[in-house]
């Protein structure tokens, strides 16, 4: 019998050792989740685990050291915590996709994380479904105090000649377009969720004079930018909006900044190329835990120190609530979702 050496043998040993908590002996076919929630931090994972009753643990070799198992329930809904940042995210998702413990070929992926939101697009606690994710960090940068005449930002594409040149996409992981059908369907389904709000979020929201920032949390659709560096302030906020438009060729779709999506998508799209993942079954959703730029009259630094985490509690809970509405729809109507997103 052929055995996979290295990680697989060790993973098999781990499964055997913890068989009491695991469905499926090594000899059985890999588990086929209906839904795999991909979240970033262990704190973000908790509301999902509670809301979906993910009491089973499936060890995955090479996964995030602080949460080295995939959490599942009897309905084959599972959750993977990747760890924060691109290195953790790509490593964890690739371990799940290429590790052999799961058959993900018909799985719906809900890639869910906290994000900073553009106050012109949403507010603390809002839920935003993305149609596109764009990498903001794969770029050249000089300090913004040393810009040549005509440059409005220190960021520009690699091997570009100015910040207005369309970036070349040399790495291949710069832009991913998600299924618009699934994004729209998920956004619609999640509107039934009751979104929480709290005093801290209300206080920080009150600093803004008008627009979506001042409203109660809601479900919206707008695009996400990925960077390990948490940009703060009006100038880098304006750059985020402009960069999204420059890369996608579509104006004004940016709303959320976070640190995982393009890395998650890199691993999933490699899986899709290998036939292990269906790229039309991936949705990306964010919960707004902070604003990406301050209200008029406040400095970037004041905004970070006063309100930088004001939306974390509501956004963390709201992500799980909004996501659960989608998970429930998929699982309860699997016959219609099994072959793809129903019309």
């Amino acid at each position: 019998m052929k055995r996979r050496l290295v990680w697989t043998v060790l993973a098999t040993a781990a499964v055997t050792a913890s068989a009491a908590t695991v469905d499926g002996a090594p000899s059985q076919p890999p588990r086929a989740p209906k839904v795999l929630v991909v979240t970033a931090s262990t704190a973000e994972a908790q509301p999902w685990i509670a809301a979906l009753g993910l009491t089973q643990s499936v060890p995955v070799a090479g996964s995030y050291p602080k949460d080295p198992v995939v959490h599942c329930n009897a309905d084959d809904v599972c959750l993977l915590t990747t760890g924060v940042g691109k290195a953790n995210a790509a490593a964890s998702v690739a371990a799940a996709v290429f590790g052999g413990a799961f058959d993900l070929s018909h799985t719906y992926f809900l890639v869910a994380s906290l994000a900073a939101i553009d106050p012109a697009k949403g507010t603390l606690g809002s839920i935003a479904w993305a149609s596109r994710v764009v990498d903001g960090a794969i770029a050249w940068e000089v300090d913004a105090r040393s810009l040549p005449s005509g440059w409005t930002t220190g960021y520009l594409g690699i091997d570009a000649t100015s910040p207005t040149d369309v970036p070349l996409g040399l790495f291949g992981t710069e832009t991913y377009t998600l299924s618009p059908t699934l994004a729209g369907k998920a956004a619609g389904l999640s509107k039934v969720a009751s979104l929480a709000d709290d005093g801290g979020a209300k206080t920080c929201r009150a600093g803004y004079a008008s627009g979506p920032a001042t409203a109660a949390p809601s479900v919206v659709q707008c695009d996400a930018l990925t960077t390990d560096t948490a940009w703060q302030g009006a100038l880098l906020g304006a750059h985020a909006t402009a960069w999204m438009a420059l890369v996608t060729g579509t104006q004004d779709t940016y709303c959320a900044r976070q640190a995982q999506d393009n890395a998650v998508m890199a691993a999933l799209s490699r899986g899709a190329s290998a036939g292990l993942v269906d790229s039309t079954r991936i949705a990306v959703v964010h919960g707004a835990s902070s604003f990406d730029r301050p209200p008029a009259g406040q400095s970037a630094f004041e905004a970070v120190t006063s309100c930088g985490a004001a939306g974390v509690p509501s956004a963390t809970g709201n992500l799980a609530q909004a996501g659960k509405a989608v998970v429930d729809a998929i699982v309860s109507d699997w016959t219609h979702w099994q072959g793809g997103v129903p019309q």
Binding site: V6, A87, N88, A94, G99, F102, D143, G172, R270, F301
Partner: protein, 353 residues
């Protein structure tokens, strides 16, 4: 009969490419799985861009192609020779590096438990530490991307630059929140062995590199390249200029408690090292056998009188690109040669030098 690259793919009759034999002309499939035996690799070179691999392949005769499902479309094969020296190209940036390394460690084609890894790529160099073509073995890989940033034009008064640690309130403070991938220290014994074995390696130079470096007013920037030791700062963002270079220096010191010295700015190492660290935790690789080599393709900051933007925009035309890729192979080759030719001494770990 061949070992299929993925149990899952086999079950689903997918990923045919991962199960088939290589059609490459020089390919010999004997080691890569006819008997279901994983190839025990002595040395795995980890490159990132597609132009870093060719100098290694040609110098080491890595003529056998082993397809691995899940690697990049640009280079879907691991390249090996009969001495079990192999090379993989991960693709550029964190997402590609972490994905490809996880794919490699998940592959049944290789037994990497006793493999010496040499991570080798090009970088931007601090002129205070080296010059175009310099090859440096790193003790530390420090992430400079995981941080907060305010555009320097609207940062608080007195800050030297707009970057500051996550949760911190000033650039000089350590981050209050960490994600686990911020700092990696390479094995000191392997580092010292690699440095000793490669220090007299003959490095390439180019007339254009000579001309570029002549603008710098002091050594080592205006001297021919050498093999040295200094550390890598990693981020997807390719930073350049005086202020951001100073930030890389400061951040390297801060995150290594003063022990590290920034010299090379690059875009993958903390992602690559995170995967290897996870692999070591699973018993799949040995972190005592991992070395990190970077060679300078460009200067990270301008020479006197040059602007930050001019330095950055000219970085791919400074004359360092070609020599940096060939010098990676020149510096690594004596190390690889000794490991392979004296494997009986290296099989159980880095021998006392």
């Amino acid at each position: 009969m061949r070992t299929c690259a993925f149990v899952l793919a086999s079950a689903l009759s997918l990923a045919v490419a991962g199960c088939g034999s290589s059609s490459g002309g020089a390919s010999s499939s004997a080691q890569s799985g006819d008997a279901g035996v994983a190839r025990a690799v002595k040395v795995m070179i980890v490159n990132m861009s597609t132009f870093e691999g060719p100098p290694f392949r040609s110098a080491l005769g890595l003529d056998e192609s082993v397809p691995v499902t899940g690697l990049t479309r640009g280079d879907p094969n691991v390249h090996c020779n009969a001495d079990d020296v192999c090379e993989v190209t991960t693709g550029m940036g964190y997402a590609n590096a972490a994905t490809s390394m996880t794919v490699l460690l998940s592959s049944p084609a290789f037994d990497l438990r006793h493999t010496y890894f040499i991570i080798a790529g090009i970088a931007g160099i601090d002129a205070a530490q080296g010059t175009l073509g310099t090859a440096a073995w790193a003790r530390y890989a420090v992430d400079i991307g995981i941080a907060s940033e305010i555009d320097a034009r609207e940062m608080p008064a007195g800050w030297p630059y707009g970057y500051f640690g996550t949760g911190a309130t000033a650039p000089q403070q350590a981050p209050t929140t960490t994600y686990g991938t911020e700092v990696f220290q390479l094995d000191e014994s392997f580092l010292q062995a690699a440095l000793a074995l490669s220090k007299n390696a003959k490095l390439d130079d180019s007339s254009q590199a000579v001309a570029t470096r002549a603008h710098y007013t002091s050594a080592p920037a205006n001297q021919p390249p050498q093999v040295t030791q200094c550390d890598v700062a990693s981020a997807d963002t390719w930073i350049a200029g005086t202020a951001l270079e100073q930030r890389a220096r400061d951040w390297t010191k801060l995150m290594t408690k003063g022990a590290g010295t920034f010299c090379m700015s690059a875009q993958e190492d903390n992602a690559t090292l995170e995967v290897l660290t996870r692999g070591a935790a699973a018993g799949a690789v040995d972190m005592h056998r991992v070395a990190l080599l970077r060679s300078a393709s460009d200067f990270a900051a301008p020479y006197p009188g040059q602007s930050d933007s001019a330095c950055l925009l000219g970085s791919l035309n400074s004359g360092g690109l070609g020599i940096s890729t060939s010098n990676l192979a020149h510096a690594a080759q004596p190390v690889i040669q000794v490991i392979v030719s004296r494997w009986s001494q290296w099989a159980s770990g880095v021998p006392k030098m």
